[in-house]
Symmetry: C2
Subunit: 324 residues, 2 copies
DNA sequence: TTGAAAGCGCTAACAA
DNA sequence: TTGTTAGCGCTTTCAA
């Protein structure tokens, strides 16, 4: 029995002949080791945990990009040969995440849509359960986070507009205090500075990443004394909202105003004109999440790499054109 | 030890005092039973399995509505107090689904995006592992499927158009042989018949549920000798494509042509005009999936309810108007 | 109503 | 290199 166990787990002390024979018979029998028994004795399962905040789903709100990343995560987990357990998050007590993970002898978790200040996250970090967050800065000996390089992405959007000859460029930023949102705004500011362009009063408007806020923020931009000829919008959904505001004002995209979004959600290719946008790759993000978690679970700490920031790619479509 | 077990599992043979005391101490200690140990001895875990085909994700294709239902499923699982394990589906052998489930002592699975003819599904049904499919007809003693009432939904779309005074109504159907798609077409045909309206030659065009096919199918409809004044499109993404074709032809929605979609994906509210559509409720669908699976796992067979068809709701927005 | 003991299917320490 | 034994944390007979 233990020989079989050793053979199946690729231990060195089994003779090649025996190993071969074990594998042979195991496959004939269609034998699969029982994951529960294994997790019980090893005190660690081969399943990764996903902690996914879905309050917004219950409220009827959609976060299409987050869903894309979750799909990417699923694919990446498949490739790694592990499984993914979506842990229940409803009993939102202070250490409910940790408990749920321990209950299932889960060795590491991915956090999606969770603010870094969430009380449940604290317990995770203190107990040093390997944890990787998406778009959420995490501080802990066995914690990291994965994000797109929001700053560089935003700067690349500005660069694109500058190359098209635009000089009066505005932005619709996300809410203040949210990491990815702040980074995109910083990238915008840096991009403008690098191009030697001034940021006019009122050229920075904030939204909340949802459609309506994009429309409203764009309206404020259009009301500016010196109307911008190009706008970087920090999220595609708001960018679509901006498109609406522009059309309502009787202006045309990209003839009168160019618009660049961020994310590359499906809708970016459904609207007309199709949105030029800074694309985040959900599949690559999923893969990075799994890689980081697995490495965190494998070795001890590796303090110098808290963040893994993936590069974005500017996808030029129909919503940007040379400055008139 | 056994008394504690009994108390925690609400067994009748424990005295109220003891039970109370056990609960008290357990909560003080923050005790949570180990799920692996439990699954091992019970030979059944409290975790539901999700088998989710993601080949399309790897191909870069999106199925926004399916993602919405998965989010709804997650919420419903939370409410039920169980957890959800996403099983790896990459080793696509004939009984890989079954093995993955057994390996994790999972008592029942939900199938998403899997064709009913998939070899892995056969094994599931033969072994009578409780299985619930979404939009996939399943035949088995312990299998059921959940779907929206596609037929009634399509008919309600036709009814809406008829009430607006339309008589020349066409449709962009989904691919033939796909259950939901066939049902929607049947609903369209029945709706027309109930209204006493003829279906003109060429008034039924097929697409593949993706954007481009909607545009192409709509073009064919526009080329008809007697151009329809209203069109029922069996999926929102194709409906958006149809909107494009109509605009390209220099016509306006809803002035010249009314369009009704199906699903109510996010994009339906992002395009202009916003899409009138037959809404499927992803949260309700998720809840039904969990309910059915749990009931299948609880009792023996209940042969008369193979299907659970949820009603849809017509959401009237800007893409439909009275016939000119 | 409670407790003692066996065992779920594995892995790991120890002996052979 | 292989086999024997104990034990992971529970549930469930069986006895008291």
């Amino acid at each position: 029995m233990s020989t079989v166990s050793r053979a199946l787990n690729d231990r060195p002390e089994v003779s090649p002949t025996t190993r071969e024979r074990v594998m042979q018979v195991a496959s004939e029998l269609g034998y699969r080791p029982n994951a529960s028994a294994r997790a019980l004795v090893r005190r660690r399962s081969d399943t990764l945990g996903l902690i996914w905040a879905t309050e917004y789903v219950e409220a009827g709100v959609r976060q299409p990009f987050l869903l894309d990343v979750i799909a990417g995560l699923k694919v990446a987990v498949d490739h790694s040969g592990s499984h993914l357990a979506i842990l229940t998050t409803s009993n939102a007590g202070g250490n409910s995440f940790l408990r749920a993970a321990r209950e299932h002898t889960i060795g590491g978790v991915v956090l999606m849509g969770i603010a870094s200040g969430h009380p449940g996250v604290r317990a995770l970090l203190e107990e040093e359960l390997p944890t990787v967050g998406f778009d959420t800065p995490l501080q802990g000996r066995r914690a990291r986070y994965v994000t797109s390089d929001n700053r560089a992405g935003a700067a690349s959007a500005v660069k694109h507009l500058v190359e098209l000859g635009h000089t009066r460029i505005g932005t619709v930023a996300g809410p203040e205090g949210m990491h990815s949102s702040d980074e995109r705004l910083t990238g915008f500011v840096e991009g403008m500075r690098d191009a030697g362009l001034p940021i006019a009063d009122g050229a920075v408007q904030h939204g909340d990443f949802f459609l309506g806020s994009g429309t409203e923020a764009m309206r404020r931009l259009l009301d500016l004394p010196e109307r911008p000829t190009a706008v970087f919008v920090a999220g595609d959904e708001m960018a679509v909202g901006a498109l609406h505001a522009i059309a309502d004002a009787g202006l045309a995209v990209p003839r009168d105003i160019s618009v660049v979004g961020f994310d590359d959600i499906e809708a970016a290719t459904l609207v007309r004109p199709q949105l030029t946008t800074v694309r985040q790759d959900p599949l690559a993000l999923g893969t990075a999440l799994v890689d980081e978690l697995l490495s965190l679970m494998a070795d001890a700490a590796d303090a110098d790499s808290r963040v893994r920031a993936l590069s974005t790619r500017l996808v030029v479509r129909g919503s940007t054109a040379p400055s008139a």
